[in-house]
Amino acid sequence: MRRPLRDYRPVHVVGIGLHRFQPLSETTYVELGLTAIREAMADAGIAFSAIDSAYCGTALLGMAPSRAMLRHLGASGLPITQVENASASGSTAVRQAVLEVASGMADVSLAIGLDKPAPIRLAHEAAGVPDLVNAYASPFTHFALLADDYMRRYGVTAEQVARVAEKNFRNASKNPHAHRQKGYSLAEILSGPNISGPLTRLQCCPIGEGAAAVIVASDDAIARLGLSRARSVRVLSSTSRSERVYDPGADPDTELTRETLAMSCAEAGVSPGDLDVVEFHDGFSIEELLYVEALGVCPPGQAAGQLARGDFDIGGRVAINPSGGLLAMGHPIGPTGVGQICEIARQLRGEAGPRQHPGARLGLAHMVGIGSVCVVHILSAAD
């Protein structure tokens, strides 16, 4: 019989580290990655030799990036694997590390997210199933259509949709790891260059470079290595799904998200309403509204209104994208999902400083990867 994560031994996030998400620079991918990993090791208080396995979520670096980086931490012989799931690559790396520790294959595992901008080759373009729009249906056109449909369906305005970006820029203005740290006003967001339909440039996430690292460990390892139990954050569920066939006209990413969120909440034994902090895949402003509703923390069509009254602010009912999300923290692809886990862990430890959501005890991280796949993690603060 298949068993959910909570039937296994507990898994904890014990270390987090980031290299700032930023525009493409001369910094090598090795330097980006080592910065994040060394920060995570220092945060956990463990040596590289204590790490049993490593998963690197990356989509753009080319073949075999990881050992050429990890060897500079002292080549220990540990198993190393690259995983790719488009935008959910980093989340998948975290999931594989969590599964190894849960099952006892490893006591301590490292998940890295790492990428530098490079031309993206989408494999499915060679699948031999063209449609009527092909390249015309770029991501921003796709999400603009979802925005147009949502606005029309619920009588929501373009300004209300843009408020997602306003909130996320405000959050990221307090985040030293964010790609966009300037707090743009609603007027600036709306007046920026138009991209497609209601979406302006500042409602589309920046794709830059960066790195994020998360170390997960078992109770055994925490005790054996003398790690801080108070700063450890428990992983309650780790859920990965792929798109099915939905009703004509339904947005596949939203339906896939709805299913995966529900499954992850059920596996964690938590109610969506109990979540304090959530990091959503807000590659485009409209996505956050769709996914908030898919999570079930507000009725269909009401996310824009609840956002406007501050429900999703830091300090509100549930803090959505306190890091700044993809829109402001940035979306370097591989690092993004790992960075979400860093943010949730920081919030649940109460170490998020100026962007701390008061009393954060339960958090969720969500990424969608084109194709589509969806990966969700739910974490809780130490008791």
């Binding site: 199933v129 063209p130 449609d131 603009a144 147009d148 497609s196 440039r201 004509p248």
Partner: protein, 130 residues
Amino acid sequence: MAGLFLEGEPNPALRGQECEGCGRVAFPPNPYGCEKCGAPAAMLVDRPLAGRGRIVAFVTTTHANRRDLSVPYTVASIALDDGPVIRAIMTDSTGESLAAGDAVETVLVERAADEGSTDRVLRFQKREAA
């Protein structure tokens, strides 16, 4: 785009598929198998879809992320009269004449192709009231 429609005036039909296993009607066609039930390609039979439907949503894109796309262009989600909801490019590149709910229909448009030749591509246009 060849292979996605059947020429025939005034409204070219779309080359859909119907699965003999589960009855799903889908567009675009594929040579591999049914996404709903996994039936092999041999069980996917041709099922022309009338080139008519209604606009569900539409947007005009003013920013090109590839050099081979000229802006502006307008893409719509269209609920076909025959069931599937598809996406297509509209003849009205600025979308100014369009509204959600509009009845639309397929039309073939000549487009410049390589070396001075032209090819015919499928677009949707607003359907004039009869």
